[in-house]
Amino acid sequence: MSADELKTVNELLRASNMTERPGSWSERRAAMEATLAAFPKADGVTLKPFRLNEIDAEWQARPEARDDAVMLYLHGGGYAVGSIATHRPLTTEIAAGFNGRVLSLGYRLAPEHPCPAAIDDAVAAYRFLIEDEGVPPLNVVIAGDSAGGGLTVAALVAIRDAGLPLPAGGWCLSPWSDLTVSSGTMASKASDDLMISDVSLKEYAAAYAPGGDVKDARATVLNASLKGLPPLLIQVGSAERLLDDSIALAARAGAADVAVTLEIWPGQPHVFQIFAAMMGEARAAIAGATNWANARIV
């Protein structure tokens, strides 16, 4: 039952004390790997790791997946933690429903590699798809959760500005779009959000922002010109401190004449889709998004 499933997830979040993440960056990375190691991967999805321009990448696809359509996935983790591995449960679940292949990218992380390294890596991966793999641009969807959601938008902006043909769309799961960490819900949803700490976010923001300038449009994508971007699907839970990040992104994109679909999922936590094994809503959100992506590609 839906309410029971969410209750279980919230108990898990409380017990794992996810907002308390002291320690070095390597300790934080290890902690995220350990936490998400227990989550199951989706069945029937083949994994093919490889090196893409000196960073890690991994194809994830059902055997019958089309090879002329790709979802380029940018994992979350505040731009400083997270990996292909931490997000494999989520991305394989996506690959199970998407008609093409998923390409999960191990983009370079802050603080060793601040902005715009991650954007450069995402754009390079996109070029790899459309130039080396021959995937039609309109058969590529870029997607990402949390920081990966912000990175999705930053990559689309960079692709547009580089004069490259644009992909079919962007799917943002609880995107982090404002690295100033100053929105209304950052405060008003504080007691509802069992995952995100504003103190931690500010550390991540400082580690990632170019020259420490959190307002830079490549980091705080709310400050970017979003004109000409392809359609965006934004999914967010209402129990998130980053709720306003999604709403503000939808507002800015809409004002820039972008086709936005914004879905508010009541009571759901940050990137609730990772709880696909435990919650019907998580699976429904992923299914809705893969249906959306499947309808976008030709």
């Binding site: 129990a239 939808a250 507002a251 809409g254 004449d257 879905e263 508010i264």
Partner: protein, 297 residues
């Protein structure tokens, strides 16, 4: 072709902008109905007038429409004009594929009957449906423009009256802020061929209780969103009212209400009305109906 279709609609709107300014209220109402006569009704939908506990209404349904679900429609027209007739093309298009019947409601209009007369009538029509044996969750409330604002105010009134919760509300270019203070009111002023800030404040003067634009019954953004059913919100990006939709989504989200918001690039206020001329309009209507059908399943 899409760009050409949008251009045809824009040309039509530009030609008629400001045409109503010199007319009286009865003349404006007549002009709106006359204009809407060009839009064909959907095939296979029968029309049956009904009194919904004293509120004039019209059943619009296919012969095989299930009788256990209703979409209650509140037409737009700045709370002062518009009618069942002016919106019949749009509402019969909904009745053509909605998995139930449509009840289009002729709520009382300003300036003769300012807020909250319209809300009272909408709630009466809802009660009429409940007493006819319909379950609240099988009733979807829908509306465009002022009708969208009215739909939200009606949801709030239904909740406050302790009545069974409707299955959801689908609002097109909803008008939920009578203060005309949003950013898009100025940002989109050149793009919007229909609604100006003056239109909004003029409407507030004749509609809002005591002329107070901040009254939550006229500006439902100012009322509580707790306990509201799921919302489907559609807006064109060329609208001065674009921020009304975004702020509506935000208020609802803060209160943990389920929302699906769609922004349609380059589209005008209630672009769905131009279904005979534009594929995007038909797509938006189809998306709204699909959403409504999923809610009542």
């Amino acid at each position: 072709m899409s760009a050409e279709e949008i251009k045809n609609v824009s040309d039509l709107l530009r030609a008629s902008k400001g045409a109503m300014d010199a007319l009286t209220w009865p003349e404006r109402r007549e002009a709106m109905e006359a204009g809407s006569a060009f839009f064909p009704l959907a095939d296979g939908v029968s029309l049956t007038p009904v009194s919904a506990d004293g509120v004039p209404a019209e059943w619009q349904a296919r012969a095989d429409a299930p009788d256990d679900a209703v979409l209650m429609y509140l037409h737009g027209g700045g709370y002062a004009i518009g009618s069942i007739a002016s919106h019949r093309a749009l509402t019969t298009a909904i009745a053509a594929t909605f998995k139930g019947r449509v009840l289009s409601v002729a709520y009382r209009l300003a300036p003769e009957d300012p807020c909250p007369a319209g809300i009272e009538d909408a709630v009466s029509a809802y009660r009429f449906l409940l007493s006819a044996g319909l379950a609240g969750e099988k009733i979807i409330i829908a509306g465009d423009s002022a009708g969208g604002g009215l739909a939200i105010a009606t949801l709030q009134a239904i909740r406050d009256a302790g009545l069974p919760r409707p299955g959801g509300a689908w609002v097109m270019s909803p008008w939920v802020d009578m203060t005309a203070a949003s950013e898009t009111m100025s940002l989109k002023a050149d793009d919007d061929l229909m609604i100006t800030a003056a239109n909004v404040t003029d409407t507030a003067a004749i509609y809002a209780p005591g002329g107070d634009a901040n009254d939550p019954r006229a500006t439902p953004l100012n009322a509580s969103f707790e306990g509201l059913p799921p919302l489907m919100v559609q807006a064109g990006t060329f609208e001065t009212l674009l921020d009304d939709s975004l702020t509506l989504a935000r208020k609802a989200a803060l209160a943990n209400v389920e929302v699906r918001l769609e922004t349609w690039p380059g589209q005008q206020h209630v672009f769905q009305m131009f279904a005979p001329m534009m594929s995007e309009a038909r797509d938006a209507i189809a998306a709204g109906i699909a959403w409504a059908n999923a809610r009542i399943a």
